[in-house]
């Protein structure tokens, strides 16, 4: 389980990003995908960066299965993040990109090699081991990134607009893959998306992030139909 308590952060005054103070409180259960929606600059990606350790919180704590991780370096956190683009190293083939997730030294045991192959097969990438990322479609590249997440077996999966560049059919397909992965590995996943349909497809619960806070968290369908909250209506253009 992932729990975030009073996690505070503020970008520097000179930073191009918003400079308002952010404070997050949140719980995500094992096996759950929680979607984060909200306007641009509201703090959705910042929250993921705080969990991954790319930004350092000034206050508060992040617990994974009861263990505090906010003081750990990004490398030591049991977190895998999938970005919108540049998830793969362009000079390495598909197999090596996934193998890096298993062991950064790339000295893999026989079992580890098999695990990489299995992950690729599970994600429909069998036979593509030697392909370069440049020769893959956008959807295939994101599958490779998911395959790497699969072999890492980390408790937390963060998806930062990971499917934003894909078409509706591919997005649906990728979300289905993520759901299976999360259920199979009992992960906690956070999915940042600008598409309410993604939230509907992926999550039972969705959080609306506004001005650096979790403004409202509810069942996805309910949240998207809240006509009494002007912030959500404004965001959805209702």
């Amino acid at each position: 389980m992932l729990s975030i308590e009073g996690l505070e952060f503020c970008y520097g005054a000179t930073d191009a990003n918003s400079s308002f103070p952010m404070c997050f409180d949140l719980t995500v259960n094992a096996g759950e995908i929680l979607s984060l929606i909200g306007p641009s600059g509201s703090g959705k990606s910042t929250l993921l960066k705080l969990i991954a350790g790319f930004n350092a919180a000034s206050k508060g704590c992040i617990k994974i299965n009861g263990q505090q991780i906010q003081l750990l370096s990004p490398a030591k956190r049991p977190v895998t993040m999938v970005f919108q683009e540049h998830n793969l190293f362009p000079h390495l083939d598909v197999y090596t990109n996934v193998a890096l997730g298993m062991n950064p030294s790339l000295q893999l045991t026989v079992q580890q090699n098999r695990a990489v192959d299995d992950a690729l097969e599970n994600l429909g990438l069998a036979g593509m081991q030697k392909r370069s990322p440049g020769s893959l479609s956008g959807g295939q590249r994101q599958r490779v990134a998911l395959a790497r997440a699969l072999v890492r077996k980390h408790a937390i999966l963060l998806l930062d607009e990971a499917f934003a560049a894909l078409g509706p059919a591919q997005r649906e397909e990728m979300i289905a893959l993520v759901k299976t992965m999360v259920e199979d590995q009992n992960m906690c996943a956070l999915l940042v998306s600008h598409q309410p349909t993604d939230a509907l497809l992926a999550s039972k619960r969705t959080a609306f992030v506004h001005h650096g806070q979790i403004f409202k968290i509810d069942e996805t369908e309910k949240l998207l139909n809240r006509s009494d909250l002007t912030e959500i209506n404004k965001y959805l253009g209702a």
């Binding site: 520097g12 370096s73 490398a75 190293f89 000079h91 890096l100 950064p104 440049g134």
Partner: protein, 521 residues
């Protein structure tokens, strides 16, 4: 990444010591009672040298820019010109060709026995202008062409739809894009001509055609007057700082890296003929001296020159200087950029650009000024000529640093922006990251930087002329001695040898270090 790398600060400290200490020694000498008195500052000689330095730089820059505007426009309009990309690569050659070799090329064409003999009038302002335009016009074309390429294709289509004629297109599209970059590019070319050494040293004709840069050298090596050299070096430094300050007021320079392909514009039949004429004339102007020099090299002296062990010893020394300076410069550049890109990642972009700017600031300090400072500083304590090689390597490495920052910087910044978080998330150690990610992605830029700095250091004549001895002779210095002694056939062979040597080392370093083209998606 919570803390940025500190390595760049160490580079800046070493750089500050290597540049500021010689400058400080010049300033303290300049304040000492021994320094040349008021008479020197009011002397006709100084006025003449100062006037000629500025006049030749003004004319050279003006001519180079005027011609480059025509040629760049022709290239921009004629996107389908045959061998366009090859010709644009040819225009990159003067960046790698040693200036003393270019002088030899100019002599081969316009010298007494050349294809278009100018006789004695070659030596003086005419020759200097020809050589400077040969060097700087292609550079200006490569700097100006991206400005044309920055005009969105839709604007051209819109202008055609609106029925704008050529003059109106120039006024509303091209000039608007150019006016931001032109002052900066002009001042850069002006600065290069102001600090040009080898060209003026060999083609300048006595006191009437001497620049400050050459006067410094003459004061130290011929007049044995360090005090006069100090005064001249301070004056030269002041001028360079003034020009650099002027440049900083204008829009930043576009990248020299240009797109070699382009969409052809509808220029009409007359326009196409005009463009073809302009490009052909420019190619002949740039290519002819090189071809003439190669032809001249096949003479009776070829075997004598090539069998001279001195040539091979000089080649070895030249290579040593080139490779050492390049290694030092690239290493320093890498460390400096590691720090600046770390700051950029943390959102401290101003700090990042200040670090890179400090690394490039040596660009405004002519190498001969640093050399003079070191000469004056070290001469009372040690035999400076015994330290010639390390000093030449150090100064050339410093002078190469701005090129490394400019070539490697964008690639390193992009790589860090794209993959820093991914590498941290994948828990790669520093070594794993270097081996698996940074090196494969950056080796192409490292190869180009190394090749560029090595070629520049191998072709340098300024610092080695100051510190060289009969035992320590690089190929450019040997070529200069042959040209000074009017051993033109020998000089032609040495020049082609040096040119081939520089190009081979450039090509080899770029291929060996750069490896295969980076994958991209």
């Amino acid at each position: 990444m919570s803390h940025p790398s500190r390595s760049g600060y160490w580079v800046l400290i070493v750089l500050a010591l290597a540049v500021l200490v010689p400058l400080f020694s010049l300033l303290t000498q300049g304040n000492s009672s021994d320094v040349v008195g008021l008479n020197f500052w009011q002397s006709h000689y100084l006025r003449q040298v100062l006037f000629f330095s500025l006049w030749q730089a003004f004319l050279s820059a003006g001519l180079s820019i005027a011609l480059a505007l025509l040629v760049a426009r022709a290239f921009a309009h004629h996107g389908a010109f045959p061998f366009r990309s090859l010709l644009l690569r040819l225009f990159g050659l003067p960046l790698v060709v040693p200036s003393i070799v270019a002088v030899m090329g100019v002599v081969s064409i316009y010298g007494s026995n050349g294809w278009i003999p100018l006789g004695r009038s070659l030596y003086g302002l005419n020759g200097i202008l020809l050589a400077h335009v040969f060097f700087n016009m292609p550079l200006a074309v490569r700097l100006l062409l991206p400005v044309w390429q920055s005009i969105p294709p839709h604007h051209w289509q819109m202008s055609e739809q609106l029925g704008l004629n050529r003059w109106q297109q120039w006024r509303h599209l091209e000039w608007q894009a150019l006016r931001e970059s032109l002052p900066g590019i002009s001042l850069l070319i002006f600065m290069l001509c102001l600090t040009s050494f080898a060209v003026v040293l060999t083609l300048g004709g006595g006191p009437k055609s001497t620049t400050l840069e050459v006067a410094i050298y003459q004061s130290l090596r011929f007049d044995f007057d360090p005090h006069q050299a100090v005064s001249l070096a301070l004056l030269q430094l002041g001028l360079c700082l003034l020009v650099a300050w002027g440049s900083s007021l204008f829009h930043k320079l576009p990248d020299v890296e240009i797109s070699l392909s382009n969409t052809p514009l509808n220029t009409g039949i007359v326009g196409r003929y005009m463009n073809t004429f302009v490009i052909t004339a420019a190619v002949i102007f740039v290519g002819m001296p090189l071809i003439a020099m190669v032809i001249d090299a096949f003479n009776n002296s070829i075997l004598t020159v090539l069998s001279n062990p001195g040539l091979w010893l000089s080649a070895g020394l030249t290579l040593l200087i080139g490779i050492s300076a390049s290694t030092l410069s690239v290493l320093a550049g890498w460390l400096l950029l590691s720090t600046s890109t770390d700051y950029a990642m943390l959102g401290k972009k101003r700090k990042a650009s200040v670090i890179e700017m400090l690394g490039s600031v040596v660009y405004v300090v002519p190498p001969l000024v640093i050399g003079t400072g070191l000469f004056v500083l070290l001469a009372p304590h040690i035999n400076v000529f015994e330290w010639a090689i390390p000093v030449v390597i150090l100064i050339n490495a410093i002078m190469g640093l701005p090129f490394v920052v400019r070539t490697l910087g964008p690639a390193m910044r992009q790589s860090k922006m794209r993959y820093q978080h991914l590498c941290e998330n994948l828990a790669l150690t520093k070594w794993q990251r270097f081996k698996t990610v940074d090196w494969p992605l950056l080796r192409k830029s490292v190869g180009l930087s190394s090749a560029l700095v090595a070629a520049m250091a191998m072709g340098d004549l300024g610092v080695i002329a100051l510190f060289g001895t009969p035992e320590i002779i690089t190929l450019p210095l040997m070529l200069y001695h042959q040209l000074s002694a009017y051993l033109i056939p020998n000089a032609a062979v040495t020049a082609v040898f040096l040119l081939g040597f520089c190009l081979s080392v450039f090509w080899l370093l770029e291929k060996l270090i750069g490896g295969k083209t980076n994958a991209e998606y």
